[in-house]
């Protein structure tokens, strides 16, 4: 930085970023960064690909769904199939599912890569913040699922549905709800 005036030495070195004028009287300890990340939860032995699970909580509670595979985050990937009980390709935590002994063979079902690798695929669209000009406009909340999801849903379900139709009563079973009753 150049400084004017005589006898000031002509130029000085000045820090480009100034220190803040306020700093606490005692040194504030920096918290240690938390480096723990949950690992992949161990899959219960009763849950294998193709098992029918009962969902215990959430919008789809009580529904019986087909388990496809465990994702890298440890969550389980399931599908209704959508046509049968309205459950789309969805992630659920293991502890919110009961495994039944009913089983379908899904060893030859291919799931779109996106669902497995990219967990952000399942996250909802972030809500757009309304800017002040838009505040008075009624914006239609687009509740429809993304095109990609509909397409992937169809790919997976088309592979599973014929297997379900092959087992007697399975379709009805999957469309019925689980409930606790007396005794």
């Amino acid at each position: 930085k150049e400084i004017g005036g005589d006898k000031n030495g002509g130029s000085r070195i000045v820090p480009t970023q100034r220190e803040s004028r306020y700093y606490p009287t005692e040194d504030v300890r920096r918290r240690l960064a938390n480096r723990k990340k949950p690992g992949m939860a161990k899959l219960r032995s009763s849950i294998t690909p193709g098992t029918v699970l009962i969902l215990l909580a959430g919008a789809h509670r009580g529904k019986r769904v087909v388990f496809l595979r465990q994702l890298n985050s440890g969550l389980l990937l399931v599908t209704g199939p959508y046509k049968i009980n309205g459950v789309p390709l969805r992630r659920i935590p293991q502890c919110y599912a009961i495994a039944t002994s009913t089983h379908i063979d899904v060893s030859d079902v291919t799931i779109p890569e996106q669902c497995i690798i990219n967990e952000a695929y399942f996250k909802g669209e972030p809500k757009k913040k309304k800017r002040s000009e838009d505040m008075f406009e009624e914006t239609q909340d687009d509740k429809k699922p993304r095109e990609q999801r509909i397409k992937d849903q169809k790919t997976v379900d088309d592979q599973i549905l014929p297997k379900i139709s092959g087992v007697s009563h399975l379709k009805k079973y999957l469309s019925s709800l689980f409930s606790l009753r007396k005794g």
């Binding site: 219960r44 215990l56 909580a57 509670r61 502890c95 919110y96 709800l177 689980f178 409930s179």
Partner: protein, 110 residues
């Protein structure tokens, strides 16, 4: 409409004859009569559901409701006749004694 919980009754707090620990509630679950039966309920979440006077917005369903919950969890068996000890996020109010409580099926170990 599905019922995905067992009914239980709050029978009181853990206590000696003259002192009680109100941070641990005792719950009697319907149908559970021996200590061996309690095993499936260990760790399960419990909900004490009650009504308030004013309706407030439920953060998850975004609906106005008068129902309120206190969540808790079943810790261990209490005695040999199937009673169970539960601790809640905030202690249960004394008016909950004798009230019904929902013992959910999750976290599931099945």
């Amino acid at each position: 409409p599905v019922k995905l919980f067992s009914k239980g009754v709050v029978t009181g707090y853990r206590r000696g004859q003259r002192n009680q620990d109100s941070y641990i509630s005792l719950i009697k679950i319907e149908g559970v009569t021996t200590k061996a039966d309690v095993d499936i309920y260990l760790g399960k979440r419990v909900a004490y559901v009650y009504r308030g006077q004013k309706s407030s917005k439920n953060k998850i369903t975004k609906r106005d409701t008068k129902l309120r919950v206190i969540w808790g969890k079943i810790r261990r068996a209490h005695g040999s006749s199937g009673a169970v000890r539960a601790s809640f996020r905030t202690n249960l109010p004394p008016k909950a004694i004798g009230a019904t409580v929902r013992v959910m099926l999750y976290p599931s170990r099945l």
